[in-house]
């Protein structure tokens, strides 16, 4: 096959355009570094989002053969597999901004409860950084992108003086917050990357609640509008669309020297050369790229002398519990859209009461789906039919409350992403297989999570919808994959140092969730942004010094 090789040697090649790749490109270009970014898709047009299409209008459109923009990657286009019987739900976005087009916008700081956790309990390797190392970057990220939240500050959830005003709470959220307080559990204003007032030239939220379809005025952080567009304005950023990266190439000097990719649609193979490479294609796709980048020096994937790449996959466990607040039943429904999703959050608290648990680590809870929703799926769990049923559904409509506890999973070697023996994709590159399960540690934690959620619901006197104790959402459904190219101080047990730089291949940086040493119970995007900023500050400094 004829391979198109460009003679140019690029200063920095960034792979991926989501939170990680976008931040890398933005931070490097603003410091005068030339960046060439490979994006597996193209730009999504805000004008095409079905943000303000009512449910019945949506139905009309679909019946006419119309469809909203396809943001999620179709698994038929890029298949993956899992080790039966443990299905792993994998949601990927190939295209400008990646998952930040439709992410949940939850923007929580990790704390030393998280960073020091492994060192404290001895499970697997410690993080090479602590909160003090990353705190200035959290400050910078929040100032840059806009994160709304409260003024509280806890050991498990650090506060910030840069939060934008939080949205008002919905009725159901007030009830659950009070109920949790009566249980001795703190529930605070959620931190979310939604611009609740004009910020850095970004439009404020108009509270339509349809963020999951993509925001038509870009009122929440997405990598395209907040990072890549400003980066392009510097004149230092070149983006190559539809570039599906297969491998990172290794030179004879032991450094990465290029990237092999395929045009997504023509399947033309291409190679570009670069002096430094920053990988931020999301945890699973970055891991697949690394594992497929085999060479004589690294037969199990570039930079994998430790053998850890692909292993220690972590994804949080979660479940959902729903109920109805009696005081709200039969009241007039309000417009409960707000900023979409929850306005409150329950930070981890299980380390405070002095009670020794029979499991390690902890959990928190989210609360989306409270109040008047654009549907009434709960009605399927109510018995009956006819006029009385119709009345029962209506009566409960304004009273719906929900809890979604998230628990940390321990990093375990057998939980992994692998490429050996897998089918080839349409470009002839091995696809990925996910082998994942939880352990007794998570099961014990989940039991307590159920007790906690039921306790809060009961304290709110909620009529709880039937639930199966111990049942979990699909593995992967939190869309928070971490840990498969983890950072650490020991090169024998980690792939990256504390600046996301490969121990083995010094000009290769991995800046997405795969770099995390542990998963925490928190949503990772704010930490990915902060780590990518910190890592590329380090890289820019090394470039200035001529060290890389």
């Amino acid at each position: 096959m004829y391979v198109q090789n460009a003679p140019e040697v690029h200063d920095v090649i960034v792979i991926g355009s989501g939170a990680a790749g976008g931040m890398a490109a933005w931070n490097l270009t603003r410091q005068g570094v030339n960046v060439t970014l490979l994006d597996a898709g193209t730009r999504f047009r805000r004008e095409d989002f079905w943000t303000h299409v009512k449910p019945w209008q949506w139905r009309e459109r679909v019946e006419r053969g119309m469809a909203p923009p396809k943001i999620r990657l179709d698994n038929d286009e890029q298949p993956y597999s899992w080790k039966d019987p443990n299905y792993f739900e994998l949601i990927r976005v190939w295209g400008r901004g990646g998952k930040t087009n439709i992410w949940g916008r939850v923007a929580l700081r990790y704390s030393d409860v998280d960073f020091a956790g492994p060192a404290r309990d001895g499970w697997e390797i410690p993080w090479p950084i602590r909160y003090k190392d990353i705190a200035p970057y959290y400050d910078k990220v929040e100032q840059e992108i806009g994160v709304c939240g409260g003024d509280d500050d806890q050991d498990s959830l650090p506060g910030s003086r840069f939060h934008l005003p939080p949205p008002a709470l919905r009725c159901g959220e007030r009830f659950l917050q009070s109920a949790a307080r009566r249980q001795g559990i703190s529930v605070v204003n959620q931190r979310r990357a939604v611009v609740t007032k004009p910020h850095n030239g970004h439009n404020p939220c108009h509270f339509c609640g349809a963020c999951g379809r993509g925001c038509d005025v870009s009122a929440f952080f997405n990598s395209t509008d907040y990072l890549l567009d400003p980066a392009e304005k510097t004149g230092k950023l070149k983006i190559i669309d539809n570039a599906v990266v297969a491998r990172i190439l290794l030179g004879e000097n032991g450094l990465a020297n290029g990237v092999q990719y395929f045009d997504r649609y023509t399947k033309q193979e291409r190679v570009i050369r670069g002096k430094r490479i920053v990988l931020g294609a999301s945890c699973v796709d970055s891991t697949r790229i690394l594992l497929n980048s085999k060479s004589a020096q690294y037969p199990t994937g570039i930079g994998n002398s430790s053998g850890v790449i692909g292993h220690y996959l972590c994804e949080q466990v979660r479940f959902h519990m729903y109920g109805f607040i009696p005081e709200l039943m039969g009241t007039r429904p309000l417009n409960d859209d707000g900023i979409g999703g929850e306005h409150i959050y329950m930070p981890r608290f299980n380390h405070r009461d002095g009670r020794k648990r029979d499991y390690l680590r902890g959990y928190g809870s989210q609360f989306w789906g409270i109040g008047a929703q654009p549907g009434a799926a709960y009605a399927k769990q109510l018995d009956g039919f006819g006029l009385e049923f119709k009345k029962a559904v209506k009566r409960r409509y304004p009273a719906l409350v929900a809890m979604h506890p998230y628990g940390e999973t321990l990093p375990r070697k057998e939980n992994r992403i692998a490429v050996e023996g897998t089918p080839l994709d349409r470009y002839g590159v091995p696809t990925l297989r996910i082998e994942y399960n939880i352990s007794d540690n998570e099961r014990k934690m989940i039991a307590e999570m159920y007790d906690m959620a039921e306790g809060v619901m009961r304290a709110a006197k909620a009529e709880i919808l039937p639930f199966e104790r111990g049942a979990l959402d699909n593995f992967g459904s939190a869309i928070h994959e971490h840990g498969t190219c983890r950072m650490g101080e020991d090169p024998k047990r980690s792939a990256l140092n504390g600046f996301n730089q490969m121990h083995d291949v010094k000009n290769l940086f991995v800046v997405d969730g795969s770099a995390f040493t542990t998963a925490s119970e928190k949503n990772p995007t704010l930490t990915i942004l902060a780590l990518a900023w910190r890592s590329t500050d380090y890289l820019a400094e090394q470039i200035r010094k001529g060290d890389i």
Binding site: E47, W50, T51, H52, V53, K54, P55, W56, Q57, R59, E60, R61, E63, R64, P167, A168, L169, R170, C171, E173, R174, F175, N203, P204, H206, F207, C208, G209, A210, D216, V217, E327, R332, P333, L334, N335, D336, D337, G338, I339, H343, A372, Q373, P374, G375, A376, A377, A379, K380, D383, G384, F385, G386, L387, F389, K390, V393, K394, Y397, P398
Partner: protein, 173 residues
């Protein structure tokens, strides 16, 4: 040099811009779809559609607000069957079974009695038939303008300058 008055006008226009941008965008969408075409069945025949209309209306009847048949939920079910071959084949069989039970020839009271019997028989085939139709009716009705807006009072996915949240003092607001 701009006067204070012109500056105020400019800043007011800028403040309004995001909202009007979104509103213009939405209006464009609304004009395309408010003129909905008459409903046409794509999967079931006329006889099946009549039976489906009766079933969904018994599950969520007309009250002071429209019922499921008023909201064309039978056409919603038809479209689901049209786009999901497996579901369509199952529903065809289920409707034939329902017809065998005499549902289509029964008066309203008898129809209710049949549905009550099926809904109470948890774990049986009649219950599965009932539950599937009920779930489809719920999806169809509470996603329709009649069910969601008129019956439940949903008035969201709109444009607000301020989100007030819970305004009830008795809830701690």
């Amino acid at each position: 040099m701009p006067t204070r008055r012109t500056l105020l006008h400019v800043s007011a226009a800028l403040a309004a811009a995001p909202l009007s941008l979104a509103q213009d965008h939405a209006r464009h969408g609304l004009t395309q779809i408010e003129n909905a075409a008459p409903k046409v069945a794509r999967f079931f025949n006329r006889r099946d559609m009549a039976l489906l209309a009766r079933l969904v209306e018994q599950i969520i009847p007309r009250s002071d607000t429209p019922g499921a048949a008023d909201a064309n939920v039978h056409y919603f079910v038809d479209f689901q069957a049209h786009t999901n071959q497996r579901l369509g084949a199952q529903l065809k069989k289920d409707l034939a079974w329902i017809r065998k039970q005499g549902f289509d020839r029964a008066d309203s009271a008898r129809q209710v009695a049949l549905l009550m019997a099926w809904s109470a028989a948890k774990g049986t085939e009649p219950y599965r038939v009932f539950k599937q139709l009920k779930d489809l009716t719920i999806d169809g009705y509470y996603g329709s303008k009649e069910g969601l807006a008129q019956e439940l009072g949903w008035n969201a996915n709109t444009f607000l300058r301020e989100f007030k949240g819970c305004t009830h003092p008795e809830h701690g607001a």
